[in-house]
Amino acid sequence: MRWEVLALALVVGAANWGFRYLPIRFGLGSGAEGGMLGRFLASVGPAAIATLFVASALPFVAGGALLAPVPGTVAVVAVWLWRRSVVLATLAGAVAHAAGFALGL
């Protein structure tokens, strides 16, 4: 194994661990219930999930195939409304998208 690959992995991995753990360890944001920071942190979750959904879906429409994500998206929403299960809704979305792809959408 080349040393530069291992060194890069160790430096970036250590930073990732710090980003994920240290804010919890030092209680950043705790005790900020009514303040600006508390409101900010309460909104980070929905904002992050919305952003990551858009970011992961953009490549599907960026190529001009606007109909491509429709079957999968409809399936996710329908199964979520039916069963309220994230697992089932996700799997149904993937199956519907594959079916749409097979049909040439």
Binding site: M1, R2, V5, L6, A7, L8, A9, V11, V12, A15, N16, W17, F19, R20, Y21, L22, P23, I24, R25, L28, G29, S30, G38, R39, F40, L41, A42, S43, V44, G45, P46, A47, A48, I49, A50, T51, L52, F53, V54, A55, S56, A57, L58, F60, G72, T73, V76, W80, V86, V87, A89, T90, L91, G93, A94, V95, H97, A98, F101, A102
Partner: protein
Amino acid sequence: METRQETFAAGLVTALPIGLGYFPIAFAFGVAATGAGLSGWEAAALSVIIYAGASQFLALALLTSGAALPVAAFTLIAMNLRHVLYGPALMKAAGAGAGKRHAWLWAWGLTDEVFGAALGEIARGRRFSEAGMFGLGLLPYAAWVSGTVAGALAGGGALAGWPVLEAGLAFLLPALFLALLLSILTRPQVPVIVVAGLACVAGTLAVSSTAGILGGMLAGALAGVMRRARA
């Protein structure tokens, strides 16, 4: 609404779609890494030690382009800076008294998807627990590492003969994020979600996907602050 505590087993079940989504992406990473000249051990080491999808693909580009080590490290670290917000947001949602004794270990698994799933479970009434976080984090990590190893062993073009399967697997992560979004959706959060989505599109088109993600999260969270400040 459920009020049960999240268990290790329940965390594993919740993590199932994340693991299913991670495996093919990690597989693609393993294929790309060996195609870029890395050994199977080097590909596996990147997944075991870094464990952050987009930055690992960027690491391949930086390593093969001959970028200086400090420049490559700084670029990859900056890309993952958003993770700083996840721990505090999760602990705030978990409420006062939420355990963090073993956070030094389970926080390693706090990726974008695991963070979203953990929030979704809390929104659905499951009480936060460290055992649940271990269950939620373990399966995706195992899927990421094993997918990388499988991809490195398979080599290029392994999924080329299965385009329908490849298409379905490629849609797993958007489907997961949409399902997570539905699971936490409430009327007061609609402005936050709309602003975050629009800012993500604008940032991606104007700058890069990394800027879009960071900008979307910050803009959405700021929209939440502004809305509640006016309320």
